[in-house]
Every structure is written in structure tokens, then in C-alpha cells.
């Protein structure tokens, strides 16, 4: 049964990827890229990687196609055919692919429980994390405590991207020429407006659930941050950008992005203050398990805040471009 599912998902992935490469309609390519993200999320699910599936569904099928569609709306959806480098590409791909295939020949079989990867470091996480950290979701334990420094790096990466987008698109148009008009604000879009309004509170509530339930089930700061941002993005889609900016000030969101990173960094420094190493939460509370738990909640909060604010910044900057770009007719 599992095998059938596996093969079905893989062949769907393959068909989607090939079609994306083949089509010259960028709109179709972007939509299919979203489907590709959703399919890979399903694949992760069937591999037992629930947290990853959750994240990939939010990112690969949510945020990333959304940003691409915004870009398309400005740049046009037609793509010119230019096969001039197809030969070079085929050559590279052939060499790299052959190398990869040869590499697989001596790999441990797929799913085999005696593969070296399952015997060395990972067993300790499964065996001891309950005793050492005290939370059932092993992925969260590893993410937020054993390898917390990677996660700090991840938050900084997101922060960097937000800043980069801001430096590229966000800063020059600080004086807005005219209010951005949202087509959704027309009365004819009543259904969308009503449904949007109904959906937003549950979305935000769900984000909070994911944020604070990450220790017990799939979820955590990153996924929660994305969902939280999606709530606001939906609001801006339905009611226009300026309606959102009345609620959340742009400068505030930018500051919050920095605050999230700072929370994470400071929790780490508290480890040093309590006489242990950086990011060691054991000293934060009476006994070490409670300290770990507290530390994980704190850093997940930092992650959530940064991710939500960066996603919002990026989307708002993109859609402000879109609104400005509407005035200019498309070239293609």
C-alpha cells in the first residue's frame, strides 16, 4: 500500500516537473510549481516527516507561488523560447545526473533500518530527548535545543531576506504618490469579502495553536509565523493594502522582525549569564527539563515573530509594487 502511494506521488512529481520545464506559459508554470510543492508535502507526509510536510505546504504551495504570481502580474506571463543554451544545459545535467546515479549504487537501500544514518547520532535523540528535554516531538527537541544554533541561523536567514527585499524594493517609494486602490473593495465582491472576514479570526487562532502546540505535535514557530502572516495577507487581498496598514504600522512590523531575532539571541545569551554555554537553556528554570521547556517556548516565539513580520513585509512590498505597476501597461 505504502509502495503504491510512493510510486503514485513520485510519478506525479515527475510529470509536474517535466511539464513545468516544457511549458512556455509562466502562469501555468507557477501554478504547477505550487502543485509541485503540495505534492512534495504529501510525499514528506508519507515518509513520516510531518513537520517538514507542514512547512513545505505553507511555503512551497503557499507563500512561494503567491510571490511568484505577484511578480508575474508585473512582468507578464509569456516566455520567449530560447534554446540557445540547451546543449550546455543537457551536458551539465547529464554529467551531474550520471554522477548522482553512480553514487546511489552503493547507497544503503531505501528505508533500510540498518543504514548508517539511523545508527549513529539519531538514536540518542529518540532515546534520550524525553528525559533530557521533556517534550514528545523529537523534531522540535532537535530543532530548538540540540541544534538550536542552526535554527538561529535560519531565523537570521529569513531576516536577511526580508531586509534584502526591503532594500531592493521598499525604501524608495516611502512617499506614496496616491492611495493604492484595491479592486476587491468594489461592492460586487461581496462574497469574497464576507468569507474573507469570516476566515481571518480562525486563521490567526490556528496560528497561535500551531505556535504553542509545536512541542506536542507538528508545528512550531516557523509554521505559525507563516500562517499568522497569511491571515494578514488575506485581509490585504480582500480589503486592500491601506486597510491593513491602518492596523499594522510598517515601521512596527520592520522593528518586530528585528525583535524576533533579538529574542532568540538574548535567550541564548541568558545561557551564558546562567553560567553555561550559549543557547543552553538548562539554567533558565529550577530543574534542567523545565529550563529547556521554557527556553524552547521563548525561542519559538522569537522565530514566530520574525517569520510572520518578514513574510508580511515581503508581501506588502511586492503588492505595493504591483499596485504601482498596474498604472503602466505590460510590455508583453
Amino acid at each position: 500500500m505504502e509502495l503504491i502511494l510512493d510510486i503514485a506521488l513520485l510519478s506525479l512529481l515527475l510529470v509536474t516537473a517535466v511539464y513545468i520545464a516544457w511549458t512556455r506559459d509562466l502562469f501555468a508554470a507557477v501554478i504547477l510549481a505550487g502543485i509541485y510543492g503540495l505534492l512534495s508535502a504529501s510525499f514528506f507526509m508519507s515518509m513520516g516527516a510531518v513537520d517538514v510536510a507542514f512547512t513545505e505546504a505553507a511555503v512551497g504551495a503557499g507563500i512561494s507561488p503567491l510571490l511568484m504570481l505577484s511578480t508575474l502580474a508585473i512582468c507578464g506571463r509569456a516566455q520567449r523560447a530560447n534554446p540557445q543554451r540547451a546543449l550546455l544545459a543537457l551536458l551539465t545535467v547529464g554529467v551531474v545526473g550520471a554522477l548522482l546515479i553512480t553514487a546511489t549504487l552503493e547507497m544503503p537501500a531505501f528505508g533500510s533500518p540498518d543504514a548508517p544514518a539511523h545508527l549513529h547520532v539519531a538514536p540518542r535523540y529518540i532515546a534520550d530527548s524525553m528525559r533530557e528535554i521533556g517534550i514528545p516531538n523529537v523534531v522540535t527537541s532537535v530543532l530548538a535545543s540540540y541544534r538550536a544554533f542552526d535554527t538561529l541561523g535560519e531565523v537570521v536567514v529569513i531576516f536577511t531576506a526580508g531586509l534584502g527585499v526591503l532594500s531592493l524594493l521598499g525604501l524608495r517609494g516611502d512617499v506614496r504618490e496616491e492611495p493604492i486602490h484595491s479592486p476587491m473593495a468594489e461592492p460586487s465582491h461581496l462574497v469574497l469579502r464576507v468569507v474573507g472576514k469570516v476566515l481571518i479570526p480562525p486563521i490567526l487562532l490556528f496560528a497561535l495553536y500551531v505556535q504553542f502546540h509545536g512541542e506536542y505535535g507538528p508545528g512550531g514557530g516557523f509554521q505559525a509565523g507563516v500562517i499568522f502572516a497569511v491571515g494578514f495577507i488575506l485581509y490585504s487581498l480582500v480589503f486592500g493594502l491601506e486597510a491593513v496598514e491602518k492596523i499594522v504600522n510598517r515601521a512596527l512590523v520592520q522593528a518586530l522582525a528585528a525583535v524576533g531575532v533579538l529574542i532568540y539571541g538574548t535567550v541564548g545569551l541568558l545561557g551564558i549569564v546562567s553560567g553555561r554555554n550559549y543557547l543552553d537553556y538548562s539554567g533558565l528554570a529550577g530543574d534542567s527539563v523545565a529550563g529547556q521547556h521554557l527556553g524552547i517556548i521563548a525561542i519559538e516565539l522569537g522565530v514566530g515573530i520574525t517569520v510572520a513580520s518578514v513574510m508580511m513585509i515581503v508581501f506588502f512590498v511586492f503588492s505595493a509594487q504591483l499596485a504601482r505597476g498596474r498604472a503602466v501597461p505590460h510590455a508583453s
Binding site: E106, A117, R147, F149, T160, L163, S167, A258, L269, D280
Partner: protein, 494 residues
Amino acid sequence: MLTHLPILQVILPLVAAPSCMILQRSRLSWLFTVLVSLAAFVVSALLLQQVMAEGVIRYSLGGWDAPWGIEYRIDALNAWVLFIVTAVSTAVIAAARTSIEAELGASRQTVFYTLYLLCFAGLLGIVATGDVFNVFVFLEISSLSTYALIAMGRDRRALWSAFQYLVLGTIGATFILIGIGFLYMMTGTLNMLDLAERLPAVESSTAVLAAFAFILVGICLKLALFPLHLWLPNAYSNAPSIVTAFLAATATKVALYLLVRFTVTVFGIDFSLSALPLQSLFILLGLAGVFVGSAVAIYQSNIKRMLAYSSVAQIGYMIIGIGISTVVGLQATLLHLFNHALMKAALFLALAGVAYRIGGCSLEQIRGLGRSMPWTMGAIAIGGASLVGMPLTAGFISKWYLIAASIDSGFWPLALLIVAGSLLSAVYVWRLVEAGYLREPQSGQLAAEPGEAPLGLLIPTWILVLANLYFGVETSLPVSVTEMAATYLLGGAP
């Protein structure tokens, strides 16, 4: 506090970056960045001293021991590279204010300094860590901020260069990710030292070989090693001047460090040299880089572009040193790492001064600069001399070691080729000097004689220039550190 030095090295700029973002005022954020960079420099000096005195320092992040948690592991090699990066960064950022004000405009300065700190922290993180996946994460921090920094250039070409670099850089990073995945699959660990212990048992497997190849290609894309260097000239010549100075002096050095770390520490030099014909490959690619880079540099009229191609050539020299793979060869590489950082930072900072006063830096535009901007032109001349490898400059020392290494290990023709490569670089440096001192200024420009570059820019430039001269004579610090690093890496006594 001294036990926390390794993490402070990275966490200081990393936490400083978001704080800088909150500062908002551009003058303030510049000062803050300089102070942070200076503090990082002090930390790295202390670390270097500690390593030289006591040997390897280990620091477990989160208090989890090595293969389970992430470990920082500082030996002479990391400490040396950290020292170089922080030293150059401090000089560059101290010089940055006027140039950045002129090239970026008011609204983007705080963001610039924040991105700068992020890039700085990313580079330091790559060097300090002892965990291969952590390398990937910090590589991405530094890369993403680099793309954004390059795109801040004035010309629209800066955008296109940044995009080209983004695509190639991401492919490189993904290749590294694939390699790390293979390594993890075969050994079950991500810690470098642990990998080094467990790899010999499986090293005959094709998966390990492929992992090696992928990591190598990924790093070489970042390093701009000869056939993969195409992104570098565009990126360097279109980025803001200060960014070019910083990247030229640090980013490629860090990539080279990674190359050494992976080939020597993780895979082990014996495996690396026997698995692929790496020795001849490195020497050949290095030589090709030297000649092609230098030859193309001769024909450039944009000086930034000329120096960018010269960087490709200099990377060639460093790769040759690794290819020789003796202690002296590796030492030559590490020395050149330091010296090249000094000279390129000095040269590009001087060019930032030229760009500030004249508004561009083509050979046409610097005609007669020896008279109107004697200090700036002097810095370019001395930096150029060091680039060629004239005696009494730092560049001479590393070339000397490289030639000595090639003669020691019996590569006679190699020594001659290295000298020939230096002659090529003499040609393009001569074009600079000729334009600056011997040519008359362009007729149209005479109306307003450009003054000397602002003092805030000139002083750091000259500090770097003087360092070039100082380390050309008094070599005990770099030689002793690199010797220790090289012997330690190649399995001698630590």
C-alpha cells in the same frame, strides 16, 4: 568570559545586526558597526593568541556534546582566517561612511550597515563552526546579504550581476547541500571531526566520492575558481565600492578556507589526493586561472574590473599552493590568503576614494591622478607593487613561499610559470601606474581639479598600505601562525 570567546566571535555581529536595524539614524549605525567590527577584531586577536598558546579550543553550543549538538572548534587555521576577516572588515567599514553616503543616498544606509553586519557574521560563522550543516546555514546568511549588498550598486548592471551571482551561488550552495546529504547518509553524522573519523571506513564507496565532488564544485563556485569564475568580475565591478573592497578581501578567502577545511580536515588529505587527480587538477586550474585572469585583466579599462580579474588570478596562486600539498605549499596558500586580503582591500579602498572624487574609475579617468590625489594614487601604486610581488611588500613573501614550495617538491617548471604569471600582473599594474603618473589629465576634466580623498577614507587605506609594507619586512607573525596551521592540518605535531 574567555571560555566563551568562540561564540562571542560570531554572535556579537549576529545580534548586533538587528539592533543596528532598530537604530535608524545612519551616522549612528555606522559608528555602531565600526565598534562591533572592532570588538570582533579584538575577540579574534584574543582567540588567535589563545590558540597559539594552548592549541585547539572547543565549544559546544547549547551544552550538547559534539556529534549530537553543534560544536565550534577553533584551531590555528580558523583563528588565522577569523583574524584576517575581522581585521580587514574593521579597516573597510571604518573607511565606509563617506563613500556609502555618496553612493547609496540617505534612506538606504541603515539597511546597508545591517546587511553588512549580517554578511560579516555569516562569514565568521562559516569559519568558526565545526559542523558541516551549520556551514551551509551560515553560507546562506552571508550569500543572501551579499546579493542584496551587490544589488545596491548605482548602475543597473549591479542588479543583473547580483541576480547572476544569486543563481550560481544558490546552485553552489545546493550542491554543497547534496554533498552533505551523501556524507550524512554514509556516516550518520554532521560533525567535521566525527566525519573525519568515520569516513575512512566507507571511503571506497562511490557515494562518498560523489559527496566529495559535489562539495568541491559547490565551494569552487563560491570561490570563483577558474572555469567557474564568470560571476565574479561582474559582481565586483558593479557593487558599491566599499562592498567590493569587503568581498574581495574576505568572501573568497572564506571560500578558500572551506576548501582547505573539507579537503584536508574532513576528507583527509590522503583521500582527497587519491580519490580524484586533485593534485594535478588544482595545479592546472590554478595555473589556468593565473594566466587567463591576468591576461584578461590587462585588457580591461575599468580598474575595478581589472582588479576583479586579478582576483581570479590570485585565487589561482592559492589553489596551486593547496595542489602542491606539502606543508610549505599549504603555508604559502595561507600566507597569500592574508597578504591578498591586505592588498586587495587597500587597492579597492583607494579606488573607492577615486570613485568618490571623480565618480568613476576607468583608466581614462585616473590620468594624472598622481598630481591631484597623490596619497590615493600612492596607495594604488604600493598596493599594485604588492600585487605583483615586489620585494619589501607583503605580496613578495607569499610568492616566495609558493616558489620555494614548488621547487622543494620538484615542480621546477611550476616555479617558472609562477614567475611568468607575476610578470603578467606587472603589465596591468604598470598600466595603472602609467595612467596615474605619466599621462596628462584628460583635457575636459581640468576645470575642477579633484582634491584628495576624504581623510576618513584615506587613513584606513593607508593603514592597510602600511600593513602591506610592514608584513613585507617583518614576517614573524604570519609565518609562525601559518606554519603551525599547515603542520597541524597535514598531521604533524599541533
